[in-house]
């Protein structure tokens, strides 16, 4: 044994901290702007890069990846070094990680307002940036796991487990949801379409919340809460159960974002049940965090760090109670597509993420710069302003969302819609939209106060050098458990066989079920005898696992990948049109496809859904409920997640061309009280017809049955269809060239809800409505 002094790499920790504060202010500034745009449409300024549809993805990406991303990297790098008693493995990789991540954020901040978008929520960034994200994430992973490999502390604290789960699961989710084929340097189509894309997207979207915004922050909670309270975590065993329960259950819950839609029933039920199961581990974790403050509650009155951490953990409990509640199908019928969801996510990001970030920053900055916090009173003021801001925000969104849900679903005793005009619902919630601006503005003010307070604190100190002395053995010890040993050991093998035979007994039929039952009983007996005879084995295996990061990582990966496979694989490998007499989506004409890409560029999916749910209110308002086969050629799917405006799945043919023409120029001219932005540039910009050749080639590769067309034929087709629309507009005195973008958008909107009847019904006319039998079957 020899004694060695370790100097921690806190430079990168300081860099990520400053970046997080900066981007946090930017993200929330954009948030307040887009909240204001929803209340006052003039704030869109008739400018493409300032419209809501383009800025909303900027806000969400900035809040998630820039603000929280930098915050978790800061916390992970700081706490990991202390927990494993080792300096980060590579200073170069640390710097590459930091600067690479900031470049990605800058690239996102430029491309999103310019309209370069993949059209998938929280996954809008274009493919070159996606590759950069994957590269930098790999850099982060190498740096992290390399540090674990050279650590001077055998045991792995539970916070490290949460970080491991974050790194591997985010990689899996991000790569799967960003599988795509480029059509140009700045554009691509995802390889999944329709229901497959919907499922993959919300498997990703939900678990981005779980594994980017929750598990790393829980790791941070398990490190900084004991640190700030100066006492160990309330129950370490509970923290372990918390970890494994979250990892096991969270990954299954994605389909709750698609309740009451055309998603297969079994997947909806799966998502709902696993969401409800999340109540237990989430509240177990919340209680574990709060009870860590036992005996230290008096400090919460005076210490802003504990104030923020305690409130952050409480908001974690609130939002993880609310989430499963909203995943119940009947509650979801009210909450989905409404402002309630917006309130829910902000109780998580503002209450949980931002407050935990503030607590961590107020604790870290004086230590990282070897000084005292500039002003405790200012930090207290930040806390109370932020708290009032959050409460105003989420309460207004609850009121607004529940109002929207109830009004849109309300039916009169004679079976008609109680509020047939969508704008009646929009205008009934205006006061709540104003309250949201106030709440968001207060929270932003608190963030600015924090930035100022931390800036003054940093100015008063200097970067600290943190060291620790460790005892290093002369010969490096081996890992406690080999990779194979992580799996091939009695507890894991017996458990696997027991669960497998249980599945065989429960789900198979006939002989397979009977044999499975016999094997189940026999395995249980053998396991009991084996583990009874060698009672210590189970504990030995587990305690070795706590010291072995590689098998631990693989076990975590297997747990999360299994949940994903069960949901994703069946829908990826189904033949969506086989054996069905349901109507099938019509293949887009080139002009309609161009219009669809403009629709995606402008972020229309942020406010308009294209999925009529199987609910009375939806069907009465928009028409027959949506079916899987009606969006199979949509790459990406456009089911949406919010209805600031009405659903558009069957809007084709509902209004004449002139209505769309005037509506897009000035929505108030056709819809009094609308909050939609004007789109004057669509009347000046020319549709990008040459790009359609490669776009159609890629989509044909995906199996979309486009008829073969040369580039000239594509151009000719666009001109012909454009001429039909412009000729119709001319009858209303409108003169416009057929190559303008508005014509492509009109062509796209007018075909929404048109479909073909499959060859199984040769007598049926094209574009015929579905039979009542088909409608009721859905």
């Amino acid at each position: 044994m020899k004694t060695k002094t370790i100097e921690y790499n806190d430079r990168v920790v300081r860099q990520f901290l400053i970046a997080s504060v900066f981007w946090g202010v930017v993200a929330m500034l954009v948030g307040v702007l887009i909240a204001s745009q929803l209340a006052f449409h003039v704030l869109n300024f008739n400018t493409p890069w300032l419209t809501f549809g383009r800025l909303r993805p900027l806000h969400t990406n900035a809040a998630i990846f820039a603000f929280v991303g930098n915050m978790i990297f800061c916390g992970i790098y700081h706490s990991t070094q202390r927990l494993v008693r080792a300096r980060l493995a590579s200073d170069f990789l640390s710097q590459l990680h930091f600067w690479g991540w900031q470049l990605i954020i800058v690239a996102a901040a430029i491309t999103l307002p310019l309209g370069f978008s993949r059209g998938k929520e929280y996954a809008e960034l274009i493919w070159p940036i996606n590759i950069a994200v994957v590269f930098i994430w790999v850099v982060f992973a190498i740096n992290f796991f390399w540090t674990l490999a050279i650590r001077n502390e055998k045991s792995l604290y539970v916070a490290i487990w949460f970080y491991i789960a974050t790194i591997i699961t985010v990689a899996m989710l991000y790569i799967t949801n960003h599988l795509q084929i480029p059509t140009s340097l700045l554009h691509s189509y995802p390889i999944f379409g329709g229901v497959q894309d919907a499922l993959v997207q919300w498997w990703y979207g939900h678990n981005a919340v779980a594994f980017f915004l929750t598990t790393p922050v829980l790791g941070i909670m398990y490190y900084y809460m004991p640190k700030a309270a100066e006492r160990p975590v309330y129950s370490y065993r509970l923290s372990v159960v918390h970890f494994w329960s979250l990892v096991f259950i969270y990954i299954w819950a994605g389909p709750h974002h698609l309740l009451n839609t055309a998603l297969p029933e079994w997947l909806q039920t799966l998502g709902m049940v696993f969401s409800l199961m999340l109540w237990a581990p989430s509240w177990g974790g919340m209680l574990n965090g709060l009870l860590t403050l036992r005996g230290a509650w008096n400090k919460v009155r005076t210490d802003p760090v504990l104030k923020f951490l305690a409130a952050g953990v409480t908001f974690y409990g609130m939002s993880t109670f609310e989430g499963p509640l909203m995943a119940i199908r009947s509650v979801n019928a009210v909450s989905h597509y409404s402002d309630w969801t917006i309130g829910h996510v902000h109780s998580g990001t503002l209450g949980w993420n931002s407050f935990m970030a503030a607590g961590m920053f107020y604790w870290l900055v004086p230590r990282l710069w070897n000084t005292k916090l500039h002003s405790t009173k200012l930090a207290d003021l930040h806390f109370w302003i932020g708290m009032v801001g959050i409460l105003l925000y989420i309460a207004s969104m609850w009121v607004s969302g529940i109002t929207q849900g109830l009004m849109l679903n309300a039916v009169t005793p004679d079976g008609a819609l109680a509020y047939p005009n969508f704008l009646e619902v929009v205008n009934s919630t205006r006061a709540m939209l104003h309250t949201r601006i106030l709440g968001g503005g207060l929270f932003l003010t608190g963030m600015i106060l924090m930035a100022y307070n931390l800036f003054r604190t940093i100015r008063s100190g200097h970067p600290a050098v943190a060291t620790i002395e460790v005892q290093v053995p002369d010969v490096a010890p081996k890992e406690g458990l080999s990779l194979i040993g992580g799996f091939l050991n009695p507890p894991v093998v017996y458990s696997f066989l027991l669960v497998l035979f249980s599945c065989g007994w429960g789900f198979a039929q006939g002989m397979v079920s009977a044999v499975s039952l016999v094997l189940l009983v026999e395995t249980a007996l053998v396991a009991m005898i084996h583990l009874g005879l060698s009672g210590k084995k189970w504990n030995e295996w587990y305690e070795k696992l706590l010291e072995s990061w590689l098998p631990f990582t693989v076990l975590t990966f297997v747990a999360v990948v299994a949940g994903g496979m069960i949901q994703i694989l069946p829908t990826v490998f189904i033949k969506q049109t086989a054996g069905t007499d349901a109507p099938i989506q019509k293949v887009y004409t080139p002009l309609e496809l161009a219009g669809r890409d403009i629709y995606i560029r402008e972020g229309c999916y942020n406010c308009h859904s294209q999925m009529i749910r199987s609910l009375v209110g939806d069907v009465l308002r928009y028409g027959k409920s949506g079916r899987l086969t009606e969006s199979i050629y949509d790459f990406p799917f456009q089911w949406g997640s919010k209805r600031t405006g009405p659903d558009l799945e069957r809007v084709g043919g509902k209004y004449p061309n002139i209505w769309h023409f005037q509506h897009m120029m000035d929505p108030r001219s056709t819809s009094i009280g609308s909050v939609m932005p004007n789109y004057p540039w669509l009347y000046k910009q020319v549709t990008d017809i040459p790009a359609l050749t490669s776009k159609i080639r890629v989509l044909t590769g995906y199996g979309v049955p486009f008829p073969p067309r040369s580039p000239d034929a594509i151009l000719q087709s666009c001109i012909e269809q454009g001429n039909v629309i412009t000729a119709d507009l001319a009858t209303n005195g409108i003169k416009i060239s057929p190559d303008k973008e508005i014509i492509a958008v009109i062509a796209y909107l007018q075909q929404l809800g048109r479909y073909s009847v499959p060859a199984a019904q040769p007598g049926a006319p094209a574009s015929a409505p579905a039979s009542p039998k088909q409608a009721s079957a859905n």
Binding site: R82, P232, V240, F496, Y542, E543, V558, F573, I574, T580
Partner: protein, 55 residues
């Protein structure tokens, strides 16, 4: 709902094995955590409290 889609038989097998793998990991590690020795748990719980030197 299933009238719209055609599932391959192998997906049922994949589902069962994936669920078994996932659930068995969950069960074994939770049982392992519950049976973990008190001394080990105490040692782990105190890990964040170690102080460092700053200059």
């Amino acid at each position: 709902m299933f009238y719209q889609v055609e599932f391959a038989n192998w997906t049922a097998l994949v589902t069962a094995i994936a669920f078994a793998a996932s659930f068995c990991i969950f069960a074994t590690v939770v049982i392992g955590a519950i049976r973990c020795s008190d001394a080990k748990v105490r040692q782990l719980a105190k890990m964040p409290l170690e102080e460092e030197k700053r200059s």
